[in-house]
């Protein structure tokens, strides 16, 4: 069975500082990996995804994540955060069953940006 572990439940950082949110997964098969973001009182939005190809994937708002197969990790990074990045971030691995994409989520990391 696949599983996802997000190593930090909360990460406080100062504005304009770099941040890394850690994610490790376990799977015996090829995986698709995702980061979703949930802003306060909203649903989840896709931030970025790794399907194949380049192991470094980027989002439109400056986040990037690197797929590391040997370490089974998919850490999320941003070199300089903004107040607007305050949200909860979820790492997920996809499992295809009968054509359905069942996502297995980590526990979430709450990112708090302090001015």
């Amino acid at each position: 069975a696949q599983s996802v572990t997000q190593l930090d439940s909360q990460v406080p950082v100062f504005e304009e500082a770099p941040v890394e949110l850690r994610c490790n997964y376990s799977s015996s098969v090829s995986v698709y990996l995702f980061w979703y973001v949930q802003y306060p009182n909203q649903g989840l939005q896709l931030l970025l995804k790794y399907l194949s190809g380049s192991t470094l994937v980027e989002s439109i708002n400056g986040f990037e994540a690197e797929f590391n197969k040997s370490q089974t990790s998919f850490h999320l990074r941003k070199p300089s955060v903004h107040i607007s990045d305050t949200a909860e971030y979820f790492c997920a691995v996809s499992q295809a069953i009968q054509g359905a994409q069942k996502l297995v989520f980590g526990q979430g990391t709450r990112l708090t940006i302090n001015p």
């Binding site: 979703y36 909203q42 649903g43 896709l46 295809a96 069953i97 359905a100 994409q101 989520f105 979430g108």
Partner: protein, 114 residues
């Protein structure tokens, strides 16, 4: 928002009462999902559907049933609500190219069982 509407958005009910949450989509997607979100657990899959009248269980299906009589509607029913089912429920649909579909989520339904 990929045309996903959840209703009701908020509901307070009492233990033992039945509750039905509705997910409606406007884009004719085949796959639909119900997740629940709880602090410290992330999101967990309750049930999913791969077509009209075709559904299957997820990892936390006990106490829940689903129905899909039309492509656009996926209903989640709690036959007799319990306090442990207090949660935020999210519906999702699969979008994107086959084989690596991305999930798009609704805005959520917050259920409180007293």
């Amino acid at each position: 928002d990929a045309g996903i509407t959840q209703s009701p958005r908020h509901k307070v009910t009492e233990t033992g009462t039945p509750v039905t949450l509705r997910c409606h989509q406007t884009e004719n997607h085949r796959y639909m999902y119900w997740y629940r979100q709880d602090p410290g657990h992330g999101l967990r899959l309750i049930h999913y559907s791969y077509g009209v009248k075709d559904t299957d269980k997820g990892e936390v299906s006990d106490g829940y049933s689903v129905s899909r009589s039309k492509t656009e509607d996926f209903l989640l029913t709690l036959e007799s609500a319990t306090s442990s089912q207090t949660s935020v429920y999210f519906c999702a649909i699969s979008t994107g190219a086959s084989g690596a579909n991305v999930l798009t989520f609704g805005a959520g339904s917050r259920l409180t069982v007293l």
